[in-house]
């Protein structure tokens, strides 16, 4: 009996590849693709956490248009992209140039600059809440040099700016590594030719380095803009679950989380917001890729 089963398995080997892929397909299907489809479906229902929903057509989307909180969330997430992306495209490139040269101890510096990437976002958020506190280190340094204390975490706009600074701070090392890999592929002849022509460091950066890593800059732009639009943890930790003074610092994903969870969560309405998150995310990707193609042409 047993031996015949074994031989049957051997003869029908073509089925075994599916056994290899099955766990992965199952997990991805149940926890990614099914939720994706059900988000799209739920967006057109009034489903709540404990109450199955009825089809309501575009009612959720119509409600979004009149929901002040939604517009605040959308505004803050969009501002986040505008604030964070230029910094994350440029600063890590400069940092990569700084750590590119093989000087003694450079390995230590590279690893050290990567530490904020390794640390969990909650730790990073809480560290910066303390640093930017009314009585924290940054303010006591500012007071020592005579500037006076600044309410980084109490003013609506300063809070958003502070959160952006933290996002940039945490992302520096990650994008630095991506740029390092790209810089390794820049042909040295280009630099040498430019140097022979008498180009200084700044000029060589603009005429040789930037064009050579341009496609990497586009990639970093795409990755960081998508991530910035979906920001949650930094703002949640620094502004609190309700999004700072009068909720003015709420981001779109914070709003999704707040609306759709808990026993009374409005799953349908939160799903409609999630659809906006999808659409904008895909839109950002297409925008960046299109800008890339235009420049190439």
């Amino acid at each position: 009996m047993a031996s015949s089963t074994v031989s049957r398995v051997r003869r029908h080997l073509p089925t075994s590849p599916w056994l290899f892929a099955a766990p992965g397909l199952l997990v991805v299907g149940v926890f990614v693709l099914y939720p994706f489809v059900s988000t799209l479906v739920n967006a057109f229902t009034d489903r709540r956490t404990l109450i199955p929903g009825r089809f309501v057509g575009l009612a959720n989307f119509r409600e979004l248009l009149h929901d002040d909180m939604f517009w605040i969330g959308l505004r803050n997430s969009a501002l986040y992209v505008l604030g964070v992306v230029p910094a994350l495209v440029l600063l890590p490139l400069l940092l990569a140039l700084l750590v590119q040269k093989n000087i003694p101890g450079i390995g230590f510096f590279r690893s050290a600059f990567y530490t904020p990437v390794v640390a969990s976002i909650v730790v990073v958020g809480l560290i910066w809440v303390w640093l930017l506190d009314e009585r924290g280190l940054v303010n006591s340094l500012l007071e020592t040099i005579g500037v006076g204390r600044v309410g980084f975490l109490s003013d609506q706009w300063l809070l958003l700016l502070s959160a952006m600074a933290v996002t940039v701070w945490k992302g520096l090392g990650y994008y630095m590594i991506i740029y390092l890999a790209a810089l390794a592929n820049v042909p040295r002849e280009l630099h040498e030719a430019a140097a022979v022509d008498g180009a200084g460091a700044v000029r060589r950066f603009l005429t040789v380095t930037v064009p050579a890593v341009r496609s990497t800059m586009v990639l970093v732009g795409a990755l960081s803009s998508v991530a910035a639009f979906k920001v949650f943890s930094e703002v949640y930790l620094m502004a609190g679950p309700d999004g700072g003074p009068a909720g003015e610092d709420t981001t779109l994903v914070m709003l999704v989380q707040r609306t759709g969870t808990g026993l009374t969560g409005r799953v349908g309405y939160a799903s409609a917001m999630s659809v906006v998150v999808f659409v904008v995310t895909v839109g950002l990707m297409l925008l960046v890729l299109r800008a890339d193609r235009k420049e190439e042409a």
Binding site: P23, L98, N102, A112, W128
Partner: protein
């Protein structure tokens, strides 16, 4: 080939390995430029690592020491571990750390096993529907987690796994990204190494386990590291799925500690040090895997 000729190429790299400051073209760097570089490096170092050290310093300051002084005091006057005791008195921090460890360990095992198996199936096995299977993983990789998190939450409720550590692990337990990483690793292996085994009658499982898998240990290590870090650091999903404080992971516990103990920064600081120290230690041990492919080649100069 004489012995001398064999020896010579060994000596040259040995000489080149001596500490020598060169730019990416192998030229020496001038002293003032070198000094400027180190100055900048130290400035960035202070900016990136300084906040962690400040947090560590705060966590070691005693209850009588003024942590709000201006100008700030960078070193604790009378270092004490008292605050770590107080974290443990406020929240079951060691239980939370153990929960995080369980979640992270489970995530490492499932991701390594699951994505190696699926990656092998996508790269090395021939069957109808392989392209479709690959497409499924590519599509899954493109779906932003933040956009489906509410539906994941309702799915988890339907499965009755809400508020369990299994529920925390499941959605990310085989990441589509990891599957594609493993697929690429297997694709890069030369076919010849498996052909011999195939001729000898080894079936797919034997070829996978004995031949292919040992050749992709590097990628597997990368998957393991990122699976561990991802699970240990995750915040949004555990925040949504866990409601019972006794089941919290460390990140959610810290958020809770911050909420209830916001008035004593020493205690919160001690909590963050507990959460971040294992990761920094892990990173320090495994850092060469983080810079794989980057440290080699032109960067080394």
């Amino acid at each position: 080939m004489s012995v001398l000729e064999k020896v010579r190429p060994v000596r040259t790299p040995a000489a080149a390995r001596e500490p020598r400051a060169t730019d990416e073209h192998g030229r020496r760097i001038r002293v003032w430029e070198l000094a400027l570089r180190y100055l900048l490096l130290l400035a960035v170092l202070a900016l990136t690592v300084g906040p962690f050290l400040w947090q560590l310093s705060t966590s070691l300051k005693g209850p009588t020491e003024d942590i709000f002084s201006s100008p700030p005091k960078f070193l604790p006057g009378d270092p004490t571990l008292h605050n770590y005791q107080r974290v443990a008195d406020t929240i079951p921090v060691w239980d939370y750390a153990f929960n995080s460890l369980k979640v992270a360990a489970a995530n490492v095992v499932t991701n390594c096993v699951g994505s190696a198996l699926a990656g092998y199936a996508l790269a090395r096995l021939r069957y109808r529907g392989r392209r479709v299977a690959t497409l499924v993983f590519i599509l899954a990789m493109l779906v932003p987690v933040e956009g489906i998190i509410i539906a994941q939450f309702t799915t988890m409720r339907e499965l009755g796994l809400n508020n369990t550590l299994i529920g925390v692990v499941l959605p990310g337990c085989i990441g589509a990204m990891n599957v594609l990483l493993m697929r690429n690793a297997f694709l890069n292996l030369p076919h010849e190494i498996e052909e011999a085994a195939y001729v000898d009658g080894a079936n797919a499982w034997q070829r996978f386990l004995r031949i292919a898998l040992p050749s992709v240990k590097g990628t597997l290590a990368v998957v393991a590291i990122f699976a561990f870090m991802g699970a240990w650091d995750d915040f949004l999903w555990p925040l949504i799925v866990l409601s019972d404080p006794s089941k919290f992971t460390l990140t959610i516990g810290l958020n809770y500690l911050h909420g209830t103990f916001a008035n004593d920064e020493r205690v919160v600081a001690a909590g963050t040090v507990i959460a971040v120290a294992p990761l920094i230690a892990l990173f320090a041990c495994l850092q060469r895997y983080f810079f794989r492919g980057v440290g080699e080649g032109a960067v080394k100069g």
